[in-house]
């Protein structure tokens, strides 16, 4: 039954893609209202000559440390209406003009050369080279493209899921679930998982960084994430390049914050860990975010070690404690709730709550190293007896 549905949908999508090709040379189209059915309706990305290409004026960008999403690679692009500029902010996302379209295409290198391949995709690090000319569709499997669109009333999120032919992506407002197999280039570490495309409200679950206003905001395009070399233009700083392209105003001459790259072993361990927590957790775990109920704040601006979890008892973690007492126990990663929840795949315990069906082994290892390096202990000042006796 499921098989039939998939084939049926594929045929339908293939028909739609014809329309997509025809329009591919039109300029980027900002839709001020509604939910266009096809990604091609936006003319941000187009499929031509076996490549997924960026339309004119659409620029890729990269982050120092990025959100982990099941080892997916991501092609991030930014488009601003001609003549408009984003305004620099030191801590929050840049202030983008109405009409801005941010896209993020999730894809994997194919593993077809390994053991017959099939639906397998590779668990390997992303390289700038693979996206310099857009994406070579013979080498990658496209999964979904998410758009964040700045409309008059605020940001709107939409997810488009790519068809099997990689000719078109179709709106999936209710999200989707895609069976995937991930493996390392040597064919080892094979794991099956369900790649979950978020529904529109789940998009907001991460992008609504202030849970009181419930407004959506971009997460990546912040000074500290973007302040790095431009991987496609070696030697030039990404923010400086945005200015030179006329897309950013107000960039200070100095003092622009910069997150570490979490996998840059030449950087300080604490900087790498905090950069990782900031981009993976800080959008919820901040003083105004949906996870402010926990009293655990992991955004870049938090400096109080208790707020970061040091010997902090959880508030409402339920079984997410994994039988541990505190969020971070110095020197003891295996006793720390933070590590337990990052290492879990149980939807009731895992963190982040959405957006992954696999464990980020490198991220967990970083947290273990970081917590392992903390000194001291959480020894009680007043040991209990009567109530904690079970």
């Amino acid at each position: 039954m499921k098989q039939l549905f998939v084939i049926g949908a594929a045929v339908m999508l293939a028909a739609m893609s014809l329309v997509g090709c025809k329009r591919s040379h039109e300029p980027v189209q900002f839709h001020a209202t509604g939910h266009p059915e096809n990604l091609s309706d936006w003319h941000v990305l187009s499929v031509a000559d076996g490549h997924l290409r960026m339309n004119e004026g659409v620029e890729p960008y990269a982050l120092n440390s990025a959100l982990f999403s099941d080892y997916a690679h991501k092609l991030r692009t930014l488009w601003l209406p001609p003549g408009t500029k984003a305004t620099y902010q030191d801590y929050e996302a840049f202030d983008f003009p109405v009409g801005t379209i941010i896209s993020k295409t999730f894809y994997y290198p194919r593993a077809e050369n390994i053991n017959g391949g099939g639906d397998s995709v590779l668990r390997v690090a992303e390289t700038p080279a693979e996206s310099r000319d857009g994406l070579d569709l013979s080498k990658v499997r496209l999964i979904e493209t998410r758009l964040l669109v700045r409309r008059e009333k605020g940001w709107v999120a939409m997810a488009y899921v790519w068809n099997a032919q990689q000719t078109e992506a179709v709106l999936a407002r209710a999200g989707d679930s895609i069976a995937m197999t991930l493996q390392k280039p040597d064919g080892s570490g094979k794991q099956d998982f369900s790649y979950m495309v978020p529904d529109e409200n789940q998009c907001a679950g991460c992008h609504s960084t202030n849970n009181t206003t419930r407004e959506l905001h971009p997460i990546g395009p912040k000074a500290r994430h973007l302040n790095r070399d431009d991987p496609w233009h070696p030697g030039s700083n990404q923010l400086a390049r945005m200015v030179s392209l006329g897309r950013l105003q107000g960039l200070p001459m100095s003092g622009v914050p910069r997150n570490a790259r979490f996998d840059d072993t030449s950087a300080a361990l604490g900087d790498r860990a905090r950069a990782y927590l900031d981009v993976n957790c800080g959008h919820c775990h901040n003083p105004k975010g949906p996870a402010d109920t926990s009293g655990l704040w992991l955004d870049a601006g938090t400096t109080d070690s208790r707020r970061l979890g040091l010997c902090k008892p959880p508030v409402a973690a339920g079984q997410g404690t994994g039988d541990h007492m505190f969020d971070i126990v110095p020197g003891r990663p295996d006793d720390s709730i933070l590590v337990y929840r990052m290492d879990s795949l149980d939807p009731g315990a895992m963190m982040p709550e959405l957006g992954r069906g696999t464990v980020h082994e490198e991220g967990v290892a970083l947290m273990r190293d970081w917590i392992g390096a903390w000194l001291g202990s959480c020894a009680d000042t007043e040991q209990n007896v009567a109530m904690q006796s079970r």
Binding site: A174, A316, L354
Partner: protein
């Protein structure tokens, strides 16, 4: 008011079957469609909408969420409309609501991987006739909270049922102006828990077979310390289920056999309840020092760990105290009251804020009921009966009224400190 009916032909057909056979599995084809249908309705909802879900059992593999103010979601009854999350692959709750002026009524949420129903921020929240249940009985792997409004204001939870939560069945956290009435909480670790909340009336509920029946707690490191909770006319009976919370959860320190537990909260009035057969104690009053979570590094200095202005009066106690949980309490029972004796109805850890000026912090004026001071501050060396010493009265706490429920309520609302 716009009315949306979600019934598609197949779903209605399945629903009627499920209604007759009571909770039999429905055909998966209809379920798969219905997930998309309902998600679509939740996405497109507008203020004033009533989203009706027909009778039937519907399966979801991801959490549902609503982010639009002014929406009512209504089923055909808590045993007729069942949202099952047994096959859930993603999302930390069954239904997550980030919206105000929200009503959920007459349906069940079953077997979510995390919390059943979470409402995070929002005013004017009504939960009525909702059952949240983990159907496999008490298990540590069950979701944490059944009905879980947090950082909400004007909350009414009534005629609802919570079963099997591995933390708390009904858990109101960091909220203001709350009424919890006529609910039933069974086989959870905590039946009903009011935490860091200002102004809560908890009445006419039945809490039975939980580890602890009704809890009023304050947790550290949160912006709002709770106070002013009244617990009255409830039945808190035989909450003796072994504690199955994961260690580290706030309620993991609650001994099995606890009736009403107050921890680190202030201005709590417990009266006119039937509290019986809770084998550790019918009422426990304790400080954060007794939870095992007090650390110098991890708890904000400003946190007040002492229960203050606690009044216990006019309750009907029966039985209990005969089989306390934990070796220390077992030993204490035998040492003080003999092999066949029982711990008294009120067990107090004895921590008092000596720096606090003014009157009594704990007033227990409950007829013949006795109070045991466990002498926590002296490492439990000299526990003693203090019934006469703590017999005093405190002024009654104000009534909580929800604006939508009781007309001219605003003036009666609990103070916001």
């Amino acid at each position: 008011m716009k009315r949306i009916t979600l019934g598609i032909a197949i779903a209605v057909g399945v629903a009627s079957l499920a209604g007759c056979q009571k909770q039999e599995a429905a055909a998966p084809v209809a379920d798969a469609n219905y997930q998309k249908v309902l998600i679509g309705r939740l996405l497109d909802a507008k203020a004033g909408d009533v989203i009706e879900i027909p009778a039937g059992r519907f399966s979801f593999d991801r959490s549902l969420s609503l982010r639009v103010d002014g929406v009512t979601i209504r089923g055909a009854g808590m045993d007729k409309t069942i949202l099952s999350f047994k096959g859930q692959k993603a999302g930390a709750e069954g239904l997550l609501v980030n919206a105000g002026n929200f009503t959920l009524e007459n349906l069940a949420i079953e077997d979510s991987k995390g919390d059943g129903l979470k409402i995070n921020e929002g005013e004017n929240i009504t939960i009525r006739g909702v059952r949240v249940e983990w159907t496999g009985g008490p298990k540590t792997s069950n979701g944490a909270y059944g009905i879980y409004p947090v950082q909400t204001t004007n909350v009414l939870i009534e005629d609802s049922v919570a079963i099997g939560a591995s933390d708390a069945g009904i858990y109101v956290g960091q909220s203001k102006n709350v009424v919890v009435r006529r609910n039933r909480a069974e086989r959870n670790v905590a039946g009903i828990e009011i935490e860091n909340t200002i102004g809560a009336d908890v009445y006419e509920n039945t809490a039975t077979d939980n580890t602890g029946g009704i809890l009023v707690f304050n947790m550290p490191n949160l912006p709002q310390p709770g106070h002013t909770t009244r617990v009255y006319r409830n039945k808190v009976i035989a909450n003796n289920t072994g504690n199955f919370a994961a260690k580290g959860a706030a309620v993991a320190s609650v001994p099995a056999g606890s009736g009403v537990v107050i921890n680190s909260n202030d201005k709590v009035e417990i009266f006119d309840n039937d509290i019986a057969d809770n084998q550790t104690a019918n009422v426990i009053i304790s400080s954060y020092f007794s939870t095992g979570y007090m650390t110098e590094k991890g708890v904000a200095k400003a946190f007040d760990p002492y229960p203050e202005e606690i009044a216990i009066h006019g309750n009907r106690f029966k039985g209990g105290g005969d089989k306390p949980d934990g070796l220390d309490l077992k030993a204490l029972r035998v040492a003080m009251f003999g092999l066949s004796g029982r711990l008294p109805d009120v067990l107090w850890d004895g921590y008092v804020n000596t720096a606090r000026p003014g009157g009594a912090q704990v007033c227990i004026d409950n007829g013949a009921a006795e109070t045991l001071n466990a002498d926590g501050p002296n490492k439990y060396k000299n526990p003693s009966l203090v019934t006469a010493a703590v017999r005093c009265k405190l002024p009654p706490l104000p009534v909580v009224t929800i604006p939508a429920d009781g007309g001219a309520a605003a003036t009666k609302a609990a103070p916001t400190a």
